[in-house]
């Protein structure tokens, strides 16, 4: 059953359900008047374990890019552990093309705070840190104001959740990052929270066992946590009625998803759709088609790490199967960037690689060096100085870096690898037209 009314964007007017011009930040009073914090009240009536079961049963998958089942992650926390545990909220939304969480932070911060409060109750986490990227100055102000309101109204604070309705106190703090993409990687985020450089940690131990300050820690994305109040309030069966099943025997993609479309379309912006929504409908109807009536050339479906789709793949469905069906890394953040026929794909590859080169933390050699070399080769090709041999070299370097071949600690190099490989493989003609033929010495024997 497709969605009939907005869920996450209930208070954020979004096409086709409302006009973005009417958007405004929803503060505590308005939030409560429109049904806010009812889910928290309902959650506090239940046993924490029952909430974890509901979320697990709903099959809510992480909205930050990896799609890891949220409820399952929560069950990794050690049982019978009495001490301090943490929640780290990942709002280090730094993946190019991705801007969906920003909308939630800008306009409905209390929805996130309610999700945080419920998660802390369900998992027994006493302290939550919202790690927000340094570039989100205005959003940091908004979220801080919402946190202050929540404290003032007794949601958080030492008296216990919801004005002491339960004897369990939660503190919630905002922590600003300072311009490092790698801090969106969960263990890089923890390092940064501890006041160190954002170097991802070697796993295991996983954060649920030894995370922030060595204590059990849950790390969830903003949108994932924003889904939690709705699941608690309406139940897992309701959540499973949204979204879609897998058609290739994989895990299902339930619920709605924020999809932020950018690039050469007439009406870019964030839309809320069922998972499994057609990319073509999203572009043609929601975004009102290509800007200037130009032809579609390529789509970066969900953050640059995932790879690219060609115009022929525009009928792809935006769910967690998209990777296996269309030779991509995965759904990522489901924020497509649409590129028209005038776009130079070599520029796209070069731009993406420059990003990874700049943002590599420098810890693992294949990533630090590989991204730099790929960037140099792509610059050479863009200037018309490349040779055919460079294309094979690019594929070789890209294919040998990343966590999947097992050479790096985190997935940053995988992003670079998938982007470069899919762009070259899917647009090889364009690259071949730009490079000079490699001269192969020929020896003749008479």
């Amino acid at each position: 059953m497709p969605m009939t009314e907005p869920v996450l964007t209930k208070r954020i007017p979004t096409y086709p359900y409302g006009d973005p011009k009417d958007r405004h930040a929803v503060w505590y009073d308005e939030y409560v008047k429109t049904g806010g914090y009812e889910a928290l009240a309902a959650a506090l009536e239940k046993e924490p374990a029952a909430i974890v079961d509901t979320v697990k049963d709903s099959n809510l998958r992480g909205r930050g890019g990896a799609g890891f089942p949220c409820g399952l992650k929560w069950t990794f926390l050690p049982k019978d552990y009495e001490g301090q545990r943490y929640l780290a909220v990942n709002s280090d939304e730094s993946e190019p093309c991705t801007f969906k969480d920003r909308m939630l932070l800008d306009f409905d911060p209390h929805q996130l705070l309610e999700g945080i409060a419920i998660t802390c109750w369900a998992c027994g986490l006493q302290t939550a840190y919202i790690y927000i990227r340094g570039e989100y100055h205005e959003q940091a102000v908004t979220v801080q104001k919402a946190i202050d309101e929540a404290y003032k109204n007794g949601v958080f604070g030492k008296q216990g959740l919801m004005k002491g309705k339960v004897d369990f106190a939660v503190d919630c703090y905002l922590h600003r990052g300072a311009g490092a993409y790698v801090c969106g990687e969960e263990t890089g985020l923890l390092e940064s929270l501890e006041g160190k450089r954002g170097w991802p940690r070697i796993k295991p131990p996983f954060p649920a066992v030894a995370g922030l300050f060595g204590k059990p820690t849950i790390i969830n994305n903003v949108e994932t946590l924003a889904c939690v109040p709705h699941i608690v309030q309406h139940g897992s069966e309701w959540f499973k009625s949204l979204g879609c099943e897998s058609t290739i025997g994989g895990p299902p993609s339930y619920g709605t998803k924020l999809m932020g479309v950018s690039g050469h379309v007439n009406r870019p912006g964030v839309y809320e759709c069922d998972l499994g929504f057609s990319l073509r409908t999203l572009i043609d109807e929601y975004c009102q088609g290509m800007k200037g009536g130009k032809k579609l050339k390529a789509i970066i479906p969900g953050g640059i790490s995932m790879g690219v789709l060609t115009a022929d793949q525009v009928d792809a469905e935006l769910d967690f199967d998209i990777g296996r069906k269309n030779d991509l890394l995965g759904l990522g953040t489901a924020c497509p960037t649409v590129l028209d026929e005038d776009t130079d794909m070599i520029m796209v590859a070069r731009n993406i690689t420059r990003f990874f080169k700049n943002e590599s933390c420098g810890q693992c050699t294949p990533c630090r060096e590989g991204s730099g070399w790929i960037y140099k080769i792509l610059c050479r090709i863009e200037e018309g100085e490349g040779t055919t041999r460079d294309l094979d070299l690019l594929l070789e370097i890209a294919g040998s870096m990343g966590a999947m071949p097992g050479t790096t600690i985190c997935g940053l190099a995988d992003g670079n690898n998938w982007a470069v490989r899919t762009i070259i493989n899917k647009f090889r003609d364009e690259f071949e037209a730009r490079v000079k033929p490699s001269l192969v010495p020929v020896t003749m024997s008479v």
């Binding site: 093309c97 991705t98 801007f99 006041g195 690039g263 960037t337 776009t343 990003f355």
Partner: protein, 177 residues
């Protein structure tokens, strides 16, 4: 990010008599920031943000003072501060303009905007105007791809940039000075 090499052994640190961390600042940190975290080091990022907000950048002397305050070594503070792009270890202009250069912005005309901005201010990205008013830097994705091309003017994001819009913003900021 990545790696910075510098002549640490021979480098002279500029010093002034008045400390960068005022009593007012340290008591604010002690009362409001330190209690949030399980150890002192975790307060480093919020404190670096605050000092940079007051001073405009992070002088080495200030890093040393922060190190003393948090019971860390100066090297540990520098290690963290030098990792993050948003911490400036050298003086910057009064207004720092960060132009987004990531893919959605480059596909939607970032180059024209950056070129116009640089030629108007007569500087290259990474440089500061001689009057110390403006610094232009390129940044990776600002998280506003739907309004590309965009840029951060100080702490305020400016969306859907055009040449005219840049002119108006620069004129306004120059007038305010």
């Amino acid at each position: 990010m990545a790696w910075i090499t510098k002549d640490s052994a021979t480098q002279q640190i500029e010093r002034r008599d008045e400390p960068y961390l005022s009593d007012e600042m340290t008591s604010y940190y002690t009362d409001s920031i330190l209690p949030r975290y399980a150890n002192k080091r975790a307060a480093l990022l919020p404190i670096l943000h605050d000092v940079q907000h007051h001073v405009g950048y992070l002088p080495f002397q200030a890093l040393e003072e922060i190190a003393t305050f948090l019971e860390l070594t100066a090297a540990e503070v520098l290690d963290t501060a030098s990792f993050y792009d948003d911490f400036f270890l050298e003086p910057v202009g009064k207004h720092v303009i960060g132009v987004c250069q990531s893919i959605a912005c480059e596909a939607c005309g970032h180059e024209t905007m950056l070129g116009h901005l640089c030629s108007k201010l007569n500087i290259e990205p990474g440089e500061t105007t001689p009057d110390g008013l403006f610094t232009v830097r390129t940044m990776e994705c600002l998280g506003s791809c739907d309004t590309a091309p965009c840029a951060l003017f100080g702490e305020e994001r400016q969306d859907d940039l055009t040449v005219e819009k840049i002119d108006a913003l620069i004129d306004k900021l120059s007038g305010d000075a």
